[in-house]
């Protein structure tokens, strides 16, 4: 199953225990060695900072959440369409695959300033950067899923004189859904990275912006508080995609709890 996700109540408890132990050691180390709060604040101070201004963090987190989810959603829709084109036409395959490989070999973060020039400092450049980072894994996994179809299933469809469109819709597409979800779990993290990068290079909202401002003021506790919110958000987003998978693909091998 996916990246060490806690599957059972016991597993979840174990994960929580490890996290708690880490936080406790951090807290103890800060109290014993008393480093400058400019370098490393204690977890208790970070939590206190968050509860002092939950509205501030909530507002920025919502902005980042919206650009991330928009970028992710666009990547899924666009990525699936591109993948269908890639497997349907040799010309589209050459064009799209070449384009994606070139795009993916560029350090996309370096393109972020260009998007600010083109689109300004609103949500658009953040969403665009999120799409640019997330779409590759969607297309790659979806193409793989669409192609790895049992040849006999295609033969069966042909015996019943199914059109290429029906073969795509009734066999290839559902067959590719598990692979699509593998790509989506990678893409959701990339979309978040893209949104934050977008906030770093321009704009006045989002957790990335909050981190940048706090850094300018040497307000280390704020940087950590924003990072903590970001961490929680990223984790929740990942599990949201996983929950969606369990809901939509109850038939898939990785979801079965019954025999076999």
């Amino acid at each position: 199953m996916s990246a060490g996700a806690p599957r059972t109540a016991g597993g979840a408890l174990g994960t929580a225990g490890v996290l708690l132990l880490l936080l406790l050691s951090w807290e103890a180390a800060v109290r014993v060695f008393a480093p400058s709060p400019l370098l490393l604040p204690a977890p208790s101070a970070i939590v206190a900072e968050f509860f002092e201004a939950p509205g501030y963090y909530g507002r920025h987190a919502l902005y980042t959440l919206w650009t991330t989810v928009a970028g992710f959603g666009l990547s899924v829709v666009l990525g699936v369409v591109l993948a269908v084109l890639v497997v349907s036409s040799r010309l589209a395959d050459r064009l799209i695959t070449t384009l994606l490989v070139v795009m993916n070999s560029l350090p996309k973060v370096a393109l972020a300033p260009l998007f600010v020039i083109w689109m300004g400092t609103g949500a658009e450049p953040k969403i665009a950067i999120a799409v640019m980072l997330a779409i590759f894994s969607i297309v790659a996994d979806m193409v793989l899923g669409l192609r790895s179809v049992d040849p006999d299933a295609i033969a069966l469809a042909r015996v019943h004189r199914a059109s290429p469109w029906r073969i795509m819709w009734k066999i290839r597409f559902p067959n590719a859904l598990p692979a699509l979800f593998v790509g989506m779990k990678v893409a959701i993290s990339f979309a978040l990275v893209g949104a934050i990068v977008g906030e770093f290079v321009g704009g006045s909202a989002g957790l990335g912006h909050a981190i940048l401002v706090a850094q300018g003021q040497f307000d280390t506790v704020r940087v950590f508080a924003a990072l903590a919110v970001l961490g929680v958000m990223g984790t929740l987003l990942f599990y949201a995609v996983e929950a969606l998978e369990r809901m939509l693909l109850p038939w898939h091998v990785s979801q079965r709890s019954g025999p076999h």
Partner: protein, 231 residues
Amino acid sequence: MSLEVRDGEFLSLLGPSGCGKSTLLRAMAGLDPLTEGQVLLHGAPVLAPPPGFGMVFQRDVLLDWRSVLDNVLLAAEFEGRPRRAMQPRAMGLLERFGLAAFAHRYPWELSGGMRQRAGICRALLCEPEVILMDEPFGALDAMTRDDLNGELSRIQQEGKRTVVFVTHSIPEAVFLSDRVAVMSAGPGRVVEVVDIALPRPRPLSLREAPEFGREVARLRAIFAGLGVQKA
């Protein structure tokens, strides 16, 4: 070589691995054209899959994400027939094959024999004129295989359907067939077409009868003459 499939008969293609049985069957289905020679259906060459065919594969080829009933209805969906109109017939077939209780289960909840039965229901759904079967029982255990041989024999007799059946089991070919086309490898060809003169209906107990043994021995002798050792 030349081979004629007669209307309403059960014809087996029998031979060792690599003799081209499956290739010939796929050419009959219009899936892969022959490199030499041609397939004629009612006198017209078959270049693409013709209407009125059903096919059963060695692996059942059930789609994981569809219930058993939806898998059977897939044949109708491929052909663009309305699902709703076909559903009673699909349920009837599942009942006929003892699968009614499993109609809404997923394929992975079924045994190998049940899955293959569902595959046969799917092939029968659209009332095909011809059913092509590519070693459909090859992956099943011996007992399940016997059961399915009996069921297939009954179903074929009821509908008087044309069946072309690929197998490498001599007793299976004898039990099911009106005629057996004996094939040999290197190069793949039909050596001889043998009439199986056993009465119908054929109960499973027929396989204990001396005349059944004689037919099996006759086919074994042909293979022995070709230098092929058959079990």
